[in-house]
């Protein structure tokens, strides 16, 4: 095993090399773990909803709890108009959550520790919300960049500022998730390396740190999925209910 803390983020090809129009589309370990998380979501949720008991089993309770959690989040932030987007936000939340949690298992690859994956997810949200805003409000959606009650002299500056903060949405959404996952897993690996190098006598301190960090990382894995979903709801709210 390598002691390099960045080695765990390496993407390598599994199976034959495939290319489509000059773009490498080979199956990698990243795609494998995306498939694993998607498959486990499907398995768990479909198993949970096969036997619908009045007194729910633990797994049924889990799926109902997550349903309620997201439904409440959407109605709290985006209002009743946001209900139609429940399937999208639920899939997004559960996918990010499972990718993060499966990444916590030993020898597993963390899909969300690569910025291209998180940036792609964030771009879907960003482009979708922008298109939705224009469909809902037409060119009035551009009022989002012109807050009310601003002096005319300051208006050019404010518009530029608003455009920058609008464009920074997908970047901040993706960087937050990617940076948290990558930093956490690197830290775990570094402390793990200390345990080995300090040996039986000195290794106990980093080992206890490692255990504590694992707990923290599980919290972060859940929290980042939650933040990703709730910020998607907030952006959706901006597009659905224009306030300015």
């Amino acid at each position: 095993m390598s002691t390099n803390p960045m080695h765990q983020f390496e993407v390598y090809r599994i199976g034959p090399e495939l290319s489509l129009g000059g773009i490498d589309i080979s199956f990698t370990n990243s795609s494998l773990f995306m498939l694993i998380s998607a498959a486990s979501i499907l398995l768990i949720l479909s198993y949970a909803t096969t036997k619908k008991n009045l007194i729910p089993s633990k797994i049924q309770l889990l799926s109902e709890l997550s349903y309620n959690f997201i439904a409440k989040m959407i109605s709290d932030t985006a209002g009743s108009n946001g209900k139609a987007f429940f399937p999208f936000i639920f899939s997004l939340f559960v996918f990010v959550l499972f990718c993060n949690m499966i990444g916590m298992l030993p020898y597993a690859f963390t899909v969300t520790s690569h910025i291209i994956v998180t940036f792609f997810l964030a771009s879907i949200v960003f482009i979708g919300v922008t298109i939705l805003g224009f469909i809902k409000h037409g060119f009035k959606y551009l009022k989002l960049f012109v807050p009310s009650g601003v002096p005319v002299l300051l208006l050019p500056l404010i518009v530029v500022i608003e455009i920058i903060s609008y464009l920074s949405r997908p970047v901040s959404l993706s960087v937050r998730l990617f940076a948290n996952m990558m930093a956490g897993h690197t830290m775990l690996k570094v402390f793990g390396g200390f345990v080995i190098s300090l040996g039986f006598l000195g290794g106990w301190l980093p080992l206890s740190f490692s255990v504590a960090l694992t707990g923290l990382e599980i919290l972060v894995a859940f929290l980042q999925a939650y933040v990703f979903a709730i910020l998607t709801c907030i952006y959706l709210n901006d597009a659905l209910n224009l306030h300015h």
């Binding site: 409440k72 709290d76 920058i164 903060s165 920074s168 901040s172 960087v175 933040v227 709730i230």
Partner: protein, 95 residues
């Protein structure tokens, strides 16, 4: 006996449900969303600066005005980041 018990159970269920909803409103929901806003503010403060400077850098390439637009947009990005923090804080105080 059974009817009496049934009534008891339904009233007790109502009380218990109310208590759970109150607890949910009081603790979990607010704590969770404030952690969310804190994460949102801290990353946006940094990311707007990066996005602003990048836009300035691209525009510099288009208009051939090498460092000036990058510098200007860097500062606009800083302002946008701070403004975002103020906006989020204001929204949180309204709640």
């Amino acid at each position: 006996m059974t009817i009496k018990n049934g009534k008891n159970i339904s009233t007790r269920l109502k009380i218990a449900k109310n208590r759970i909803y109150k607890n949910l409103k009081n603790t979990n929901q607010i704590e969770g969303s404030s952690i969310g806003s804190a994460l949102k503010m801290s990353t946006e403060l940094v990311v707007t600066v990066v996005v602003g400077s990048t836009i300035g850098f691209i525009l510099d390439g288009w208009f051939d005005t090498k460092p000036w637009l990058t510098i200007t947009f860097f500062f606009i990005g800083v302002i946008a980041g701070i403004l975002n923090v103020f906006k989020t804080a204001k929204k949180m105080q309204k709640k």
